[in-house]
Symmetry: C2
Subunit: 326 residues, 2 copies
């Protein structure tokens, strides 16, 4: 039991959210995180309405949230209406300006979580009336930008606490948090909880390919990089400010310094990458995890991950807290 | 009073080291940090023997350490002998392979601090017998690499604690730490203390130009970037793996995407950059600080910075520690 403004907001026992990981975070993982005392999220990602509905059905009666990619919603805004109609515990929007989608979310009475990667975007999120602002550092797996969790979280906390913000948003840290050390550090930095992605990518309930999960467990944080190679390989039109953190492999080594060459070879390389992803070929398709891969030793049930993270954070804080009295 | 293996090693009252900032960290700043209960470092940087001797004289009888850049020592190895002869409290080597300098440091009986930016280099530092390993994240000001403090520190801590390391090195965090929140987070992540750079860049004792200090206080962390532009502009032959974090300005906006153009214009741009540095022109020369600039509100005495950081960390840890009991 760690009580913060985040646990009060969603009536949780532990201040942990699962990252809405496209391709890895389905209904079973989200429900397992929620049953363990946190709040789990389905990674709605690029907005496939059939898949999202299947995963919400899998979550059953357990309250879970749904994450979507803001810039991608423009291609199919009806997905948002579908998700809202199913009354998720929260809607978690990342990457791009979410402004046009806020009124519908408000009207549905669904709590709004906005993930940001800079102070400037945190200020915009506050202005939009976000209930929760997730400050995500560049060490995170998947898409993101350049700022680090270590400085972004306290800087956003200071701004929210200042008289100018007018926001009551709850601040949550994301990026690099895989255990109780990261959760305790997040609380020290001024967050009210943490988002965990990479650690849950290696959970029993993860939908990632077994080979990718094994690669994430074996990797050091040194083995990851931020790149746009996988986005070009998948022909996704990501805004240029965002890159994706993945494990380095033969494919990124070949193309990272030669994006023009990849563009020229795309008719061959795009289907090769997509086929490799389905086949679990970790040297062509990329394992989408963060630097925290270096902190992971095993694949295990999500409930165990959540509970051990909370227990370790509590023990650490109790130890340092009592030391102060001596 | 925060007791850790770092404070035990150097007989300190607070587990804080000042970063050996070339151009900003002289004898007065180092001595002020040491007198406040931490351990201060003179930023010997590129190894100007006359300047280093002046600064050690300024520190007087107060124990301080000296930092040097490993790859640069090859140009003038005699600087190391000069520094060791003056019996610094510790020698702090960063950037490049320090192996060939370790025997002389050992022979002089001076404690050896090695700063690293990856797990791989941390393992090398442990093999070299470092007394202290500083794990520096990319959010740090000045030179560095890509890994974040949030994941690098616990990953190195796990490796040092494992049976394979055979190292007793004390682990210290660097990068993004500007107040008690960062110090407390560092301790939670498994470090025994923290290096502070950017915050002390804005101290009364800093040797940086007043204009640069004012720019660092005014900046958000969003305003910094990692780049090689200032190194090319200064004609420094930095190994390609290292970039330098500085505040963005007109000069980096002009050249960041056009390094070949800067190389072509170097006969004009190099003297212009150097003159701007001396004149405090922050739109041409760069203010060399990290993302933690966004956490700084004022310029003040180093002793106040060190004491407030420790007090805030102690209060935070006591608050969260006692909450666990309820």
């Amino acid at each position: 039991m760690i009580r913060t403004r985040l646990t009060d907001l969603f009536i949780l026992t532990l201040p942990i959210l699962s990252a809405p990981m496209a391709g890895a975070g389905g209904g079973a993982l989200a429900a397992a995180v929620s049953r363990a005392g946190g709040l789990g999220f389905i990674g709605g990602g690029y907005g496939d309405p059939v898949w999202i509905e299947q995963q919400m059905t899998l979550a059953g009666d357990t309250p879970v949230g749904v994450g979507l990619i803001s810039w991608k919603l423009a291609d199919n805004p009806a997905v948002l209406d579908q998700v809202l109609a199913a009354k998720p515990a929260a809607l978690f929007l990342s990457f791009g300006d979410p402004a046009e989608y806020v009124p519908a979310i408000r009207a549905a009475g669904v709590p709004l979580i906005l993930q940001v990667q800079s102070l400037r975007d945190a200020q915009h999120a506050a202005d939009l009336g976000a209930d929760v602002i997730v400050a995500q550092g560049a060490e995170a797996g998947g898409h993101g930008e350049s700022r680090a969790t270590m400085t972004l979280v306290p800087e956003v906390a200071d701004w929210l606490a200042g008289s100018g913000s007018g926001s009551e948003a709850v601040l949550v840290a994301a990026g690099g948090i895989a255990d109780g050390r990261g959760l305790a550090a997040s609380l020290m930095l001024g967050a009210e909880g943490a988002v965990m992605g990479t650690r849950l990518y290696a959970s029993d309930e993860s939908l990632a390919h077994d080979n990718m999960i094994a690669a994430s467990v074996a990797a050091s944080g040194d083995d990851s990089l931020r790149t746009s190679v996988p986005d070009m390989a998948r022909r996704l039109r990501w805004p240029g400010r965002y890159s994706v953190r993945v494990l380095k492999n033969a494919f990124t080594r070949r193309w990272q310094g030669d994006m023009a060459g990849l563009a020229d070879a795309i008719e061959v390389e795009a289907p090769r990458w997509v086929a490799a992803q389905a086949a679990g070929d970790t040297e062509v398709a990329n394992t989408i995890v963060g630097e925290a891969a270096g902190l992971i030793r095993d694949r295990c049930p999500a409930a165990q991950i959540i509970q051990e993270t909370a227990d370790q954070a509590e023990a650490l804080m109790a130890r340092f807290g009592s030391q102060e009295e001596t």
